[in-house]
Assembly symmetry: C2
Homo-oligomer: 336 residues x 2
């Protein structure tokens, strides 16, 4: 491996001079600089980033902690993050934690040891241990998809789940539906709660008292949605439209309806949330609420960039707008 010293020796100059050429320092004769640069080229010199970071106290490295890289949602965020960060000369180091606390802890340790300059994180769950570690980090942190606990002012970028849910239900209302069911995620899920809250509030704003039998909770998968739809039809037979808290649930509902000969959207309308790739498939064409996934990543990265440059942390969470994507699974209510 060729170092700054080798180049210096070759040229009979000091390492300081070589370093100055490398760093575009003004205090160097253009002539000398040219010679050094040529020698570097010739000997295929590449600077050692580790040594540089050690001195500069800046590693140009950023951590990105996500629960599951296989989930297209996070893959898209990652893509957005990388887009802006790598253009600014940062290397992003992924921490794919597979929803395991132990992996999160390990990664956070790595972030400290490797002197990363900042981190964008979506902890699987925001428990005390994680919060504690996050506090100890001493570097800029931005949270995606999660809220910091009271008192800790870590900036956040997320989608406005509540508003998105309102949009979905308003759409159903505008289609004259009155018996609107809800298929939800597990009750402990924060995003699930927000979407449910949007559902309830919008119903009430529309003068409808939410039927206690109108909502079923408990999952995230197609299979969960399938079962939930079965349950919903049973306990809330008048249901003419359903708001599924995510697309997978919606697709599961669609599947149940298809298998049981219930026509969508003629007999039952379905709207989802997320705008997952699959939802646009010919056979599905699920009307849904799109989240700006790539944008979320970009925003988080821009925020982090600003913080790493010493700008103040925004006091308020950044909530990104969702978008209603009308496809084929919702229609105007027709009695009977």
């Amino acid at each position: 491996m060729v170092t700054i010293k080798d180049i210096a020796k070759q040229l009979g100059v000091s390492v300081s001079t070589v370093s100055r050429a490398l760093n575009n320092h003004p205090d160097i004769k253009p002539e000398t600089k040219r010679e050094v640069l040529e020698a570097m080229e010739k000997f295929q010199y590449t600077p050692n980033a580790l040594a540089r970071s050690l001195i500069n106290k800046k590693s140009y490295t950023v951590g990105l902690m996500i629960p599951d890289i296989k989930d297209p949602f996070f893959a898209n965020i990652a893509d957005g993050v990388e887009e802006v960060l790598s253009d600014s000369g940062y290397q992003v180091v992924y921490g794919n934690t597979t929803h395991r606390l132990e992996k999160e802890i390990r990664f956070l340790g790595s972030v400290i040891e490797r002197k990363m300059d900042g981190i964008i994180a979506t902890p699987d769950v925001m428990n005390d241990e994680i919060v504690d570690l996050l506090k100890r980090l001493e570097i800029p942190v931005v949270l995606t998809r999660r809220r910091p606990p009271e008192g800790l002012d870590i900036p956040v970028v997320d989608v406005d789940h509540y508003k998105g849910a309102c949009t979905a239900v308003e759409y159903l209302l505008s289609l004259k539906h009155r018996h609107i069911g809800f298929i939800g995620m597990p009750e402990y899920s924060f995003t699930g709660q927000e979407r449910y809250r949007g559902y309830v509030d919008t119903l009430q704003a529309g003068g409808i008292r939410p039927d206690p039998n109108g909502a079923v909770f408990g999952g995230r998968t197609i299979e969960d949605g399938y079962k939930a739809m079965a349950r919903l039809r049973e306990q809330f037979p008048s249901v003419s439209a359903v708001f599924a808290a995510n697309d997978m649930l919606g697709i599961g509902a669609l599947e149940w309806l298809a298998k049981h000969g219930v026509k969508v959207p003629e007999q039952v309308s379905v709207i989802g949330f997320d705008n997952v790739e699959v939802s646009d498939l010919h056979w599905i064409k699920l009307t849904t609420i799109a989240q700006p996934r790539n944008l979320m990543g970009r925003k988080a990265a821009e925020l982090l960039l600003a913080m790493m440059q010493g700008n103040p942390v925004p006091a308020e969470p950044i909530f990104l707008d969702t978008e209603l994507i009308v496809r084929n699974t919702c229609a105007e209510y027709r009695p009977g």
Copy 2:
């Protein structure tokens, strides 16, 4: 930030002693070691990995260069890679190159500068520039999904596309189909060629001369498959089964057939390749050839690990077996 020096000062010992405690060096009194470790705990000392790497010439960092993290295929490989590497104490640094040569070059530069210990790479295309850079790396490299040029013995792990294609066509043959069409990827695609080769050879082995009108090439997407199916039916009207070189093409074909009232599998059978998530959807249930994606990542990582420990490079590429996944889109040939 607390360093080894701070700990030493606190305890009135030398930095060597602290270092020895940190590294489980045998030459240290257990008593002393305990004290040092306690002090580290107390002052929340974390070693500086940059400084360590600089001396040890080992960064415990591995590069993973992939064309698109949003592609579930690569996300799954990445997951497999991370599974084994992070368990061995390595941090994996993703290089998401979005199919851009310039990003690949930049990432490879980063790999050198940051003194990564090895790299697993899927270059978008294997051109001279990339090959050149790969050669200059001086660290273990393993290729996934790509072949090294003649003469360069970089180890490879990939799926056996040829054999997978043979399996697919043999299955169709076993179903008594004789007029088997092929919907292919762009002709320059290596995997596309391999799968086409499997198609042609298996047909011939079955005593069927491939009809020149039986194959159409040109894409990878659902839309491409849709158009290709239209073309195939036109130029090869007797087609009773089609082998689509990937699932997206297969799904596109399915879509065309559905829209044109051609019953699958009663009138036309379709088999894909990849076993993409979507292919298992209720409405699709595409019979296909599964690639062991996670396993590919794991194998590549294990290989790299072995190489980083100084083991010799395997001379032959590692080809992983595919698996026929029978679902609902293929049936026995029925004339008429």
